[in-house]
């Protein structure tokens, strides 16, 4: 405390106090009950009168023992020396809480990413096993289900695709309950009706053919049974084919083949993807195939011939998971053509490659992969298209003004799933703007 000069003490003491306030005023002053004006007058007197200061000091009730201790303890918390440390602790707590909150906010994202990665790894392993089984299978044709969803977007970003897969963009379109073997025939009949209706009403968006007419954007979702497109393959005995000419233009023919597993024993549902795949492969050779419909669509003067095999599936959940797996596969697959013209793909970023059988004895020279949309071309205009990362293949025969593509394909270039260009060895350039539905020759 700064020392006060003694001259100040002396002059303070020498000031006249004046009249003394009465006990009521001093009491009211001590109890803070005086108005400001009266308080100031009393204070002025008190500053000059030592006796009245003593009276006020004695009149103010001292804090009692326990109360004073409590008061002192409580007051000490509000001292600056305590408050400054309290402020520092509060800052640390706030910063720590913010950091923890941030970490907690990020934790679910990392957890979901981890789950996605685990799913990807599991599906990759499943496909590796399925591919190995396919290679070891005595049957050269392993039926593969057609995904019920084809992508209309040109997503090359794997993240976007992953998001769509996780959001089950495909699965809601699938039936909620898997059809039983007994339900296969009614579903097949319904399929025929749908195909027929599509021809008449033009609302063919729910049929395979209409789906392809609509550039494959969608339309396979309602197909109750997976389909396998097998061209250049001997047609089974039970298959019935029907050709239909629409609107008098016979330049276009679409043959649709549908196979229904009528007699093959249904495998027990399995919870693992490996078992599902194995069951799917085991039942495939014994499936009886029945032609259920055919249609022809006409767009201009172009013609497209599509031959597809449909195979019913007893377990929709298997198809649903397969669909997810196919799309997943498209995210991690890499495609290439070997030196002997064999199409190969890799699911481990190019570390290992597995051959893909598109068609028997087919040799390819050109490849275009655009997400799950794969185009491969070879000699003599051999052109195949897969919308589902190579699970199913469809042979496409481009034609324009009565001229078919017959030259050797040297290059295929698709900027997206709709727009593509094929260059042949003799300099022909074929372009499409509707995913191969129609072609133009330049």
């Amino acid at each position: 405390m700064e020392q006060l000069p003694n001259i100040v003490r002396e002059r303070l003491k020498a000031q006249a106090g004046g009249d003394h306030p009465d006990a009521d005023l001093l009491t009211a002053f001590a109890e803070q009950a005086l108005p400001e004006q009266e308080r100031s007058r009393v204070l002025t007197h008190l500053s000059r009168c030592a006796d009245c200061r003593d009276v006020v000091a004695l009149a103010v009730p001292p804090p009692t023992g326990s109360v004073s201790l409590d008061t002192a303890r409580s007051v000490s918390w509000f001292q600056w020396r305590v408050l400054r440390w309290g402020a520092a602790v509060a800052c640390v707590v706030i910063v720590g809480s913010a950091v923890l909150w941030k970490r907690e906010a990020m934790a679910p994202k990392s957890a979901s990413i981890a789950v996605v990665r685990e799913q990807e790894q599991a599906e990759q392993q499943a496909y590796e096993r399925s591919d190995r089984l396919a290679a070891a299978s005595p049957s050269p044709q392993i039926p593969k289900s057609i995904t019920s969803a084809t992508r209309s977007e040109t997503d090359k970003d794997a993240g976007q695709l992953r998001d769509r897969v996780l959001n089950s963009e495909v699965s809601p379109k699938l039936p909620a309950t898997p059809p039983s073997p007994g339900q296969a025939q009614p579903m097949l009949d319904e399929k025929k009706q749908v195909v027929g209706g599509a021809l008449g009403a033009g609302a063919a968006s729910r049929t395979l053919i209409a789906g392809m007419k609509k550039h494959g954007a969608e339309g396979w979702a309602a197909a109750p049974a997976p389909m396998v497109a097998e061209t250049k393959k001997p047609v089974p005995e039970s298959r019935a084919a029907a050709d239909l000419t629409v609107s008098g233009k016979s330049t276009e023919m679409v043959q649709v083949e549908s196979a229904v597993a009528a007699t093959a024993p249904e495998p027990a549902p399995s919870s693992t993807l490996d078992n599902e795949l194995s069951a799917d492969k085991r039942e495939a050779p014994g499936k009886a195939k029945v032609a259920n419909g055919a249609m022809a669509g006409l767009v201009g003067s172009e013609s497209v011939e599509v031959v597809a095999n449909q195979a019913t599936r007893s377990e929709e959940t298997v198809a649903q998971k397969m669909d997810r797996s196919k799309l997943r596969r498209s995210l991690v697959s890499r495609w290439t053509i070997s030196a002997d013209g064999q199409l190969q793909h890799s699911i481990d970023a190019g570390q290992t490659w597995q051959p893909v059988t598109v068609a028997e004895k087919a040799s390819f020279r050109a490849l275009s992969a655009n997400g799950p949309d794969i185009w491969v071309g070879g000699a003599a205009g051999l052109l195949y298209h897969s919308r589902d990362s190579g699970f199913t293949w469809t042979q496409v025969k481009p034609s324009f003004a009565g001229t078919n593509l017959g030259a050797d394909i040297s290059a295929i270039e698709f900027t997206d799933i709709l727009h593509g260009k094929i260059t042949t060895a003799n300099g022909e350039v074929w372009t499409t703007e509707d995913a191969g539905q129609t072609w133009r020759k330049q």
Partner: protein, 317 residues
């Protein structure tokens, strides 16, 4: 020094005959009478109106009706009625008063005197004054009749007891025992004041100027701390602020005063060095004299037996 006026007559407005009760005062007294329970003490609404008129006249003088109403509403009406009923000799009022304040008065006496016997004696003497044993002209005059309700009755009793204690002490302090004077000589007698040292009038003027620039509260804090030797906690309780505020203000005031005095001395023709020397020399010259004067006159030192030197007494700063 004059004794502290218990009735406070010098400072307060001169007591005048109770003015004629206005209709407003009657109505206000009627409103307040129902709340105070004055009926049990035989205090009617008219009596209360008279009391309120007397109190408002004492502190407000001539004031507007609104001011009188606000003033009356700020009073401790219930305790005022009780005190006036006791002063009037109402037994029921005394029962209530004794039940409420008997033990408290003994406690207050002990707190003030810090001695049980002295405290009880002080309390008993106050009881006598409250009851009105010391009547004038055979009339019993109770001290409670001077209570106006500005503060609480308990606080008023404490203040009255403190005033009585200060007056007693001052009377006792100025007395010198004849036996002691005879046995021990004159060493206990009040010493002859030494001649005051000559102080530069410019220094006094500069100091008075600096003190006049302070507010009354600042001067009160300076006097209570540096003259009376009150602790920061005691000053804080008197002003109802925190003692850290008192400490901060006092330190700031002491520094500011020194600067102001030096500046005043500079305005009066002294150089900076001369001003500082005058301030320091004055300190040396006044130290012994101030000690003597504080030891004799300052009741604060005598009450609490504290050193005159302020810095060494307060640990809270």
């Amino acid at each position: 020094m004059d004794s502290i006026a218990n009735d406070g007559e010098p400072m307060n407005r001169a007591t005048q005959p109770v003015p004629a009760q206005t209709a407003e005062m009657q109505r206000l007294a009627g409103e307040l009478h129902a709340k105070t329970g004055g009926a049990q003490f035989a205090v009617s609404a008219d009596d209360l109106a008279v009391i309120l008129g007397e109190v408002s006249q004492k502190y407000l003088g001539t004031a507007s009706t609104t001011q009188v109403r606000e003033f009356c509403l700020s009073l401790k009406i219930e305790e005022l009625v009780l005190a006036r009923a006791c002063a009037a000799g109402n037994e029921r009022a005394w029962e209530v008063f004794m039940a409420r304040y008997r033990e408290k008065l003994y406690e207050v006496g002990l707190q003030i005197t810090r001695e049980e016997s002295a405290g009880r004696e002080l309390s008993d003497s106050l009881y006598a004054d409250l009851y009105g044993t010391g009547g004038r002209d055979g009339m019993r005059v109770s001290k409670l009749a001077s209570y106006t309700g500005r503060g609480s009755l308990e606080g008023w009793l404490r203040t009255v007891m403190a005033q009585e204690h200060v007056n007693r002490y001052r009377r006792q302090k100025r007395l010198v025992s004849l036996d002691e004077e005879t046995e021990e000589g004159t060493q206990y007698a009040a010493p002859t004041p030494a001649p005051a040292p000559t102080v530069d009038p410019r220094l006094e003027a500069a100091t008075d100027e600096a003190l006049a620039a302070l507010s009354s509260e600042e001067r009160f804090m300076l006097a209570a701390y540096f003259l009376d030797g009150r602790t920061l906690a005691e000053i804080a309780r008197m002003l109802s602020v925190h003692e850290s505020t008192i400490s901060r203000k006092l330190d700031k005031l002491a520094k500011s005063l020194r600067k102001q005095i030096l500046a005043g001395l500079g305005r009066r023709g002294l150089s900076r060095r001369q001003a500082e020397e005058a301030l320091e020399v004055d300190v040396r010259d006044l130290t012994l004299n101030l000690r003597d004067r504080l030891a004799q006159d300052s009741p604060g030192d005598a009450f609490h037996k504290k050193s005159v030197e302020a810095p060494a007494r307060d640990s809270g700063s």
